[in-house]
């Protein structure tokens, strides 16, 4: 299936091409599902129509906002989305710690306040170097130690690069949490009430509903990607800090601008965090040069408990937070 099949009457701008490319990918995996399960009429229509391919090979026009991904089964979730290799680029120059990535992620995954799949750190590499805000999702490493150490195969690496957790399989030994050098994983220390808010069946692709006594983490939102949406963090960042895309297609988008991944990394000196550890992350960072905001802006409108997190950082100490 070519992208043209779904876009033949759309203006073929690069941006549209890319955004809908994700939808085209979804059609492949959805084989066997009925179109009806992809449309959620309870969501207000946006008016923006897109064409999707049904399993019968028909092109059907549906409202973009109403596309809804039925969660794939646990078994299906082990297979990556065919022909994809996902990548994330985080532009540190634009981050002002608005925490919309954290909040939307928590809402989308029905997480309690104490569980953050996305965390925003205030880092300062050395005493004289400048502090900067550092959003940190799961790095979906290509050499993931968490996957190696799992004794029951509850966490797995897919062909599309995504590392997921099956919380129906997880025994909660937490070995993956010590295996991960990036403190990415969180544990359900009790049965949080937020878990019950999600009435849909569990799927590792949605990482929801959560389950007491199991491990969870950022999942790159493959359930959203299947229907052509960006992960919650990328969708909701007011600054467009987070770009998401496909490394083989060499494109990433933050929803408003779509860029060539290789050019972005080349022009902005993109790098991966702690490359020295050999984990080969799928998340790249653009260094905080020519920043759009001073770092202090990140303290605006912060909840007291969040602000207090940074009290013990070198920056927090010198600036008496």
């Amino acid at each position: 299936m070519s992208v043209e099949d779904t876009n033949d009457n759309k203006k073929n701008s690069r941006r549209q091409f890319l955004k809908n490319g994700l939808i085209a990918g979804a059609g492949v995996v959805a084989g066997g599902s009925l179109l009806a399960s992809y449309v959620d009429k309870s969501v207000p229509a946006s008016g923006e129509k897109v064409k999707v391919l049904t399993t019968e090979g028909e092109l059907v026009e549906v409202d973009k906002a109403q596309i809804h991904s039925p969660r794939v089964s646990i078994k299906e979730s082990h297979n990556g989305i065919p022909g994809r290799k996902f990548v994330m680029v985080i532009d540190l120059a634009k981050c002002k710690n608005a925490r919309k990535c954290v909040e939307s992620c928590q809402k989308g995954h029905h997480l309690p306040k104490s569980q953050e799949f996305m965390k925003v750190y205030l880092l300062q590499d050395s005493e004289k170097s400048a502090p900067y805000w550092f959003p940190k999702p799961c790095f979906h490493c290509d050499n993931p130690l968490c996957v190696s150490v799992c004794p029951v195969g509850a966490t797995f690496k897919r062909s599309d690069g995504i590392v997921l957790i099956d919380n129906e399989r997880c025994i909660g030994c937490k070995f993956c949490m010590t295996g991960c050098p990036y403190s990415t994983r969180v544990f359900a220390w009790k049965d949080y009430p937020e878990f019950a808010e999600d009435k849909e069946p569990y799927s590792p692709e949605a990482s929801s509903p959560g389950k007491e006594g199991t491990v969870a983490k950022c999942d790159f939102c493959p359930d959203l990607v299947r229907i052509g949406k960006l992960p919650y963090c990328a969708q909701n960042c007011p600054m467009g800090v987070i770009y998401f895309g496909d490394i083989d297609e060499d494109t990433v988008t933050n929803g408003s601008e779509t860029l060539r991944f290789s050019e972005l990394i080349r022009d902005r000196s993109g790098y991966r965090y702690l490359e020295v550890l050999g984990t080969r992350p799928s998340v790249y960072y653009l260094p905080p040069v020519e920043r759009q905001f001073p770092v202090e802006r990140g303290f605006n409108d912060l909840e007291e408990s969040v602000k207090n997190r940074f009290k013990t950082t070198p920056y927090g100490k010198t600036h008496k937070l």
């Binding site: 880092l123 799992c150 937490k174 295996g179 050098p181 006594g213 550890l277 984990t279």
Partner: protein
């Protein structure tokens, strides 16, 4: 060959241990059961309310439970290695104390793995380890290794108490209920001490003694690798395997000395367990103290000297927040036995036992310092306003379960000593073989 008269005499002497339970012992057992009951209550609390009742959080995901796991497993390996080695070398002074080492091996091995189960969030899915086990995971290595170890140690213990069980079956003066006699006669497997049986048993025991030493080294290395295969600063160390093995035998030797001291007092074994035995075990402890100190020094020296940023912050935490536990476990815990056993004047039973207590506590803290500060200083700095998420401290649930484990250990040891004497009667009634004169002399000069 066994000397029949000596054996009868010994059996007569030890019979009261098996026949009677004094009211003091009864109170002791009830007390232990009470502590275990407290642990059961804590366990129920943890299961019903979730792991939130422990001090563990997303940064420090393993706490006192894993420390106790390492500790009990270490005692077990020490029991196995000490009893196996003493048996294989036919060391003459082993006879009164080898049974205690064997008990130590198996009893702590039955308790240790329980602590890793307490770390598991979903015990209802424990069988997944067998159902979906992946050989790539060091946890699977551990499951295989520990279950092999349990079987090995049980067989080794059984082989070495077999002769005593047969003796108890044949000892008509023993005043115990008929059902207990029945157990002895079933467990004795028809052993009567014919030369052929004796030879077979000896060969089997020798094989198992060799096996348990090998298994113990493998199992404890696997346990160490659970930590060192990760990338965490402070754990990612090549010497962790041998370091853990040495630390294990060191702490276990100290526990054995305490067991000797307690049983000597309780069962009045002053004639059999003498200063000679304490000094001999003390010497073993000193050798291990030196090795342990050497490994500890090597590990921290390399971390400190050419330190990466994260090693540096770990060392800083160890020398500030954990200053006293660090000094205690890695300096005092090494120097005390060196001084006490090293200076002839200080080499008394009480002193050696006291230094053994110091070693046990020091080694417990040593494991604590390996596990917790590392988890408190990850690559990405912990930025959390909730103190309990940034720093670990155990809760009553964890301490209750720790106390319950120690109580269960004492209880099983007490009960085991009521079933078969804590001394190897059969071996003690053997006339000593003539040993190679040089070794004998070397031993004598030390004692």
């Amino acid at each position: 060959m066994e000397n029949k008269d000596t054996k009868e005499k010994l059996l007569r002497e030890f019979a009261p241990q098996l026949e009677k339970t004094s009211s003091a012992t009864l109170i002791w057992i009830l007390f232990l059961l009470g502590v275990i009951g407290w642990g059961v209550y804590a366990f129920i609390t943890q299961v019903t309310q979730g792991h939130i009742v422990t001090g563990m959080r997303d940064n420090v995901v393993w706490g006192i439970y894993i420390v106790n796991f390492i500790f009990f497993m270490g005692m077990s390996y020490a029991g196995a290695i000490v009893s196996g080695t003493l048996h294989l070398f036919r060391t003459e002074w082993r006879k009164p104390i080898i049974r205690m080492a064997e008990y130590l091996a198996i009893i702590s091995l039955l308790i240790g793995p329980g602590y890793i189960l307490l770390c598991i969030g979903r015990l209802d899915r424990l069988y997944y380890l067998a159902l979906f086990g992946r050989i790539q995971s060091p946890i699977t290595w551990d499951v295989i290794a520990i279950s092999t170890d349990i079987f090995g140690c049980l067989i080794f213990l059984y082989l070495s108490i077999l002769r005593d069980i047969a003796s108890l079956r044949d000892f008509s003066e023993l005043k115990i209920p008929a059902w207990r006699k029945k157990i002895y006669s079933v467990l004795a497997l028809g052993y009567t001490g014919t030369p052929e049986q004796e030879q077979r048993l000896r060969r089997a025991t020798d094989i198992m003694a060799t096996m348990v030493i090998a298994i113990a080294i493998i199992v404890y290395s696997v346990l160490a690798w659970i930590f060192s295969v990760t990338l965490q600063p402070g754990w990612h160390s090549t010497i962790f395997g041998p370091y853990f093995v040495i630390a294990a035998v060191y702490s276990g030797t100290a526990v054995l000395i305490i067991a000797m001291w307690v049983f000597r007092k309780v069962y009045h074994l002053e004639l059999h367990i003498t200063r000679k035995h304490f000094v001999a075990m003390g010497v073993v402890m000193v050798v291990l103290a030196a090795l342990f100190g050497y490994f500890t020094f090597s590990d921290y020296l390399t971390k400190w000297y050419g330190s990466e940023k994260n090693d540096e912050s770990l060392i800083k935490i160890l020398f500030t927040e954990y200053y006293w536990p660090f000094i205690f476990s890695n300096y005092i815990g090494v120097l005390i036995p060196l001084l006490v056993v090293g200076i002839p004047k200080l080499r008394t039973i009480t002193n050696i036992s006291l230094s053994a207590i110091v070693v046990i506590v020091a080694l417990w803290f040593n494991r604590y310092l390996i596990v917790i500060p590392t988890l408190e200083s990850p690559y990405l700095p912990i930025q959390d306003s909730r103190p309990e998420w940034a720093n670990y401290s155990g809760t009553w649930v964890e301490f209750a379960l720790m106390a319950a484990g120690v109580a269960l250990f004492c209880l099983l040891y007490t009960l085991a000593s009521k079933f078969v004497p804590v001394m190897n009667v059969s071996e003690m009634s053997e006339t000593p073989k003539t040993e190679s004169p040089q070794i004998f002399k070397a031993e004598e000069s030390l004692l």
